[in-house]
């Protein structure tokens, strides 16, 4: 009995353990292959580079925990980017701009949530539509042209440092901590597992499932908004095409992190490892000067391997 339990426990941490092992191996091998890999400058780079995908992936984890998916995040990044660009060009205060952007993003989240929770649209279809609408809004609003951002305070969101740590990394850490606390230490957070595991059972035991679904999309949109702000600040411009394809990278990170696409099972810790791994791998391959086309093949293979390990460990448990 006791032995069984430890074995089960081992099985459940196995995929996580494998991820940590792979991350450590990449780090180990790379420090031999590239003299610059272990430098603090490169580490700073890696974390700044993963902050974009990481923040979106945190929001995406909430949605995928419900067994849903949010394809619209990249488009929300684009919308936020052009709104910021235009409002800053008109001389609006940077903080007010951030609030407006947040408001706009929340509207997109509510839109997604309403379609899925109250009109019973399939999440894939609903958010695909929102993705298309959002990208269209960004292009129409800006007439396809980028805005130039000169506001130094706003630019610091993407380019500045807090001490020696880049601000995007600080934001990433804050988002992770907040997400972690919500998901693991609040009743509201545990509802995500309940609803994702069995929606009907959760509803019958008194969980307001529609509200939980709605809030998942709002959380995801807020994360996308934060990324939109960081990205626009980092590239000093509001670009209607900003964030194209970011949803797929985020989904990849969540999948590698062991969160089941069927919902109910998963963790933010896994997602964290997932996006660290993707960022680490892409930085490594860049340092090794591997052709970008092959990089994509490696990334795809990684997803398959990670999900396979995950499935295996869960299959054995049954």
């Amino acid at each position: 009995m006791n032995l069984n339990l430890t074995r089960q426990e081992f099985k459940s941490i196995l995929p996580r353990f494998a991820l940590v092992a792979v991350v450590l191996i990449i780090v180990g091998v790379m420090s031999f292959l590239s003299p610059v890999f272990m430098t603090s400058k490169n580490m700073t780079n890696i974390f700044r580079q993963i902050s974009i995908n990481g923040i979106i992936a945190v929001g995406m984890t909430f949605v995928i925990l419900l067994g849903d998916i949010d394809l619209s995040v990249g488009a929300v990044v684009g919308v936020v980017s052009v709104f910021c660009g235009n409002l800053l060009e008109q001389g609006m205060n940077w903080f007010a701009v951030c609030l407006v952007a947040l408001g706009v993003a929340v509207i997109f989240g509510i839109f997604n949530g309403t379609l899925v929770a109250y009109f019973n649209f399939q999440p894939f279809v609903a958010t695909l539509a929102t993705l298309t609408i959002g990208r269209g809004v960004a292009l129409a609003y800006s007439d396809g042209r980028p805005y130039i951002i000169t506001n130094p305070t706003f630019k610091a969101i993407g380019q500045g440092y807090l001490g020696k740590v880049p601000i995007p990394v600080v934001i990433l850490l804050s988002v992770c901590v907040v997400g972690f606390v919500i998901l693991n230490y609040t009743t509201f957070g545990r509802y995500f597992f309940a609803v994702g595991g069995n929606k009907n059972a959760a509803r019958l035991s008194g969980v307001k499932t529609k509200r939980v679904e709605m809030s998942a999309y709002i959380i995801s949109a807020i994360c996308a908004c934060i990324v939109g702000l960081i990205l626009s600040a980092r590239i000093s411009s509001g670009q209607p095409n900003a964030g194209e394809g970011y949803e797929l990278d985020a989904i990849a990170a969540v999948a590698i992190g062991g969160t089941s696409m069927n919902g109910g099972v998963g963790s933010l810790g896994g997602t964290l490892l997932g996006f660290i791994m993707i960022g680490l791998l892409s930085n490594s391959m860049n340092l090794l000067n591997i052709n970008s086309f092959y990089q994509q093949i490696v990334k795809g293979c990684l997803i398959i391997i990670a999900v396979y390990v995950d499935m295996k460990s869960k299959g054995d448990k049954k």
Binding site: I25, V36, L231, R234, I235, N241, E244, N286, S292
Partner: protein
Amino acid sequence: MKGKKLIAILLVCCVASFVFAQGSTESKGSGQLTIGFSSKDNSDVFVKNITDAATAKAAELGVKLLMSDARGDVNTQISDVENFIVQDVDAIIVIPQSVEGSAPVVSMCNEAGIPIVVCNGDIADTSYTAFVGCTDQESGEILGTWMMDNVAKGSNIAIIEGPMGQSGQVGRYNGFKAVGMLDYFNVLSVQTANWKRDEAMALAEDWLTTYGDKLDAIVCENDDMGMGALSACLAAGRSDVVVGGVDAINDAVQAVKAGTYGISVLQDAAGQGGGSVEVAVKIAKGEDYPVDTRIPFVGITAQNVDAYLAGGVTAITQ
């Protein structure tokens, strides 16, 4: 145990992938110059021609060229340049993905004390070390003038643009304006196809349906889109529609020779790719270098296509 076996497989995969890559990282420290080349999108035929020429020139000069590909994403381009800076390369060459959005790379390089050569397209921050490219407006002027000489005044034309805000799009459109092409013809529609062949094809198909026999010419800001529009016209049995573009990619030149494509304005990819490497090497060695190299455009039409195919660029520029 199964789990252990899986981890073992994972480890082997990982190690193997890096061993494969090892070959490309050995030569550091041998006094050989290393140059980082940040391309904007190697899936674009014309950009690929530039990077191929750069790679060839680097091999010829005996310098090591690290190639990164932003795949059309500004954020990726900035990350790529960050990676080059960490690797402490001797010079960095950039094909900007966006005039405004890519601008931060210039100040990043300046701060790191690494010379930066901007290749092919304009960039908003002009404090770079050197520029090798062309004046985009000139290509628009050549294309516009040829259209006015070969298509009757007042004809109905449509224009296919590059991604809004990119220097190629802005410059070429200004070129059309500068020679008066927009007033000379009746412009039915102006749309972007993002340099993409398939998007241009869809656009041309729609125009052929909407405007029918009224449509006399389609002016494209690059050849990939021109080829797409041409395919659509030929498929609809409309070989009378005059189509022209910029870049002189292989199939466009062949189409000029076949008489189906009106004009392809040659933008000398090899001259720009090779030239930028030459300039970067000169800077890295501390030799005198030209700060602003402009490679001229030249129109390839039925008159000179044979000479070009036989003797290359030099045969038609002299």
